[in-house]
């Protein structure tokens, strides 16, 4: 290529090309890598405890996965956009408590209302729960966009406020109300580990995955997390888009709130304790960079699955639960290390 040429060529040398192709492959194969880890975990746990390999275990893992994957997906949007949302765990508690309080005190339903009789009340509870989450998300967006508080501090303060409020409303105790436990139980324990509530979760996650990877909102989320300056220069309304992202994260935490309510038959202020860390762990294991701009939802979904496979496996083999924290820590370190390696490989 000489200066006289009119065309700027960005065709790299063959060696660089091969290196880049490898880097590109590594980027796209994050999910398959995680699937490999998942399969290995399942094999190891099955060897140590044959009963682990069962539909019942799958159902246990998926039931746990259901609430966390919702907030993990919200967290993925937030982290890819360059932020963080620490309030999601507390919002699970608050939204569940407010939903239960509404069902018990406004609709007058107590815990003796069961089965299909509870559906109407649960629908109202779901709307209230998602509404509460949405509201907290909008408050987060306000603190971040208007008051310019960094996301870590903004969502830390709403986390405290949500926790405090849920304790005040519930006076610390679970509030029981109408419920249909069939919604969280397997359709057919023989072969199908899914429950109606899980089907809703899977549909929501799938739709959001399509939006993150195929739609404009997703593109803007990546663009802002990758380079907010460039996003702004390209004419993207960054504040408006971030509002959307935090509102989504809040609403998903609200949805997780009613999911946990259905699971427990009660709204409890402590039902989301520490869950924001589970969500962040799932997101990081799933290959999302805490720096923003990087990560794919399938990885997050499998990351959350790995988290609860480890949890169930360790309970099943009767290992001290503290080991779960060690295993998760190792997984997170491995995921981050893989990210760093990929990054240095991707740059020439």
């Amino acid at each position: 290529m000489t200066d006289s040429s009119q065309a700027i060529s960005v065709t790299p040398s063959p060696a660089a090309e091969a290196r880049k192709a490898r880097a590109f492959d590594a980027l796209t194969s994050q999910s398959s890598l995680l699937l490999g880890v998942l399969v290995i975990l399942i094999i190891v746990f099955t060897i140590l405890e044959p009963k682990f390999f069962s539909v019942a275990t799958a159902s246990n893992i998926l039931t746990d996965w259901g609430s966390i994957v919702l907030i993990a997906v919200g967290q993925a949007f937030v982290i890819i956009s360059g932020g963080i949302d620490l309030s999601v765990g507390a919002v699970i508690g608050l939204s569940g408590v407010v939903a239960a309080w509404t069902m018990a005190n406004v609709l007058g339903l107590d815990q003796t209302v069961k089965g299909q009789d509870a559906w109407g009340g649960l629908l109202v509870g779901a709307a209230v729960s998602v509404g509460v989450g949405l509201l907290v998300g909008l408050i987060n967006a306000f603190l971040i966009n208007v008051l310019k508080i960094v996301p870590f501090i903004a969502t830390l303060s709403t986390m405290g406020a949500a926790l405090g409020l849920s304790v005040v409303i519930s006076q610390g105790a679970p509030i029981g109300s109408a419920n249909d436990f069939a919604l969280i139980s397997s359709f057919s324990p023989q072969w199908n580990p899914l429950s109606p509530a899980l089907v809703v979760v899977i549909v929501v996650v799938t739709v959001l995955g399509l939006y993150l990877h195929k739609a404009r909102v997703g593109l803007y989320t990546y663009a802002i997390g990758s380079n907010a300056f460039a996003a702004r220069a390209a004419g993207i309304n960054v504040a408006r888009h971030l509002t959307w992202v935090y509102a989504l994260s809040g609403a998903l935490a609200g949805l997780a709130g009613i999911y946990v309510y259905i699971r427990l038959g009660a709204g409890s202020p402590s039902s989301g304790t520490g869950r924001e860390l589970d969500a962040i762990a799932a997101v990081v294991i799933g290959g999302v960079s805490l720096m923003g701009g990087i990560g794919r939802l399938p990885g997050v979904v499998i990351g959350a699955l790995i988290l609860f496979t480890v949890q169930s496996g360790l309970i099943m083999i009767g290992v001290e639960p503290d080991w779960k924290k060690v295993v998760v820590a190792v997984l997170i370190a491995a995921a981050v290390a893989a990210q760093v390696l990929r990054k240095s490989d991707g740059r020439s």
């Binding site: 009119q6 700027i8 590109f24 663009a223 380079n227 740059r347």
Partner: protein, 257 residues
């Protein structure tokens, strides 16, 4: 170059609090003309660029695009009116692909109901990105590759390609040859020539004076917030240009091109 004035600044001043960053700057840009903007750090170059690109509003003075007065409320408004600005280094999102960057803010939506639901026409944008870049003289093998996988020069080429392919009237390039090797910088200058041939007005800001002397039709020198020289490039030698920038020689009165 035609004689059509495309973008004009009249007596523009800009103060930040009590600091006067720019005083009485007037600038005229013709279609198909490349104007170089030079000056030391703090001479007011970036302030003038921000005013021209709509990022900041002038304290006094006015801007005319195609003879119509405009007050830019945001860079977006200037963008929509046909003024593209390429800021140094930071105008691309590294994790997005070449085509995503090229179409950022102006995405092509899927046809039909999917587009209404917010879904993008990815393949079409990749194809068009490739064609657009080729049209302005940049050959990118895979527009589906993330920008972070490109070299610094390649990224700059994409950034300029993006600006040139979208610009309808004016393109402002802030230090586009910064951090580039000689060959890559030469390629960037070729893209500027392509933009000129396309009939765009180009404002080229650079510290690299040989590049300015090589590619521009006219050079505007800023010093201490004022335009101290505005003359055809042919009137400058490297030495006289440095003298004008530093003020070591008495500068001639401002001339109009």
């Amino acid at each position: 170059m035609t004689n059509t004035v495309i973008y004009e600044a009249h007596d523009v001043s800009k103060s930040y609090g009590s600091v006067k960053a720019l005083t009485g700057a007037s600038l005229r840009l013709h279609a198909g003309e490349v104007v170089g903007l030079v000056g030391d750090n703090g001479a007011g170059k970036s302030t003038l660029v921000k005013v021209l690109s709509g990022a900041h509003q002038p304290t006094s003075g006015r801007l005319e695009l195609d003879g119509v007065e405009h007050v830019w409320g945001s860079p977006r408004e200037a963008l929509e009116a046909g003024i593209e600005t390429l800021y140094q280094d930071s105008s691309l999102a590294p994790h997005l692909t070449v085509s995503q960057n090229l179409f950022l803010g102006r995405e092509v939506m899927s046809p039909g109901i999917l587009g209404k639901l917010g879904f993008l026409a990815r393949r079409r944008m990749e194809k068009e990105a490739h064609d657009d870049l080729e049209r302005v003289g940049i050959a990118v093998p895979a527009s589906s590759r993330p920008v972070s996988a490109l070299s610094g020069g390649q990224r700059q080429a994409v950034a300029i390609g993006r600006a040139v392919s979208w610009a309808r009237k004016v393109i402002i390039l802030d230090e586009p040859t910064n951090h580039l090797g000689a060959r890559q910088a030469g390629e960037v200058l070729n893209v500027i020539r392509a933009a000129k041939a396309k009939g765009l007005g180009v404002i080229f800001i650079s510290h690299t004076l040989p590049h300015v002397l090589e590619v521009t039709d006219r050079i505007v020198v800023l010093r201490l917030g004022r335009i101290v020289r505005d003359a055809p490039t042919s009137e400058f030698t490297p030495d006289s240009l440095i003298a004008a920038i530093t003020g070591s020689a008495d500068s001639e009165p401002t001339t109009d091109a």
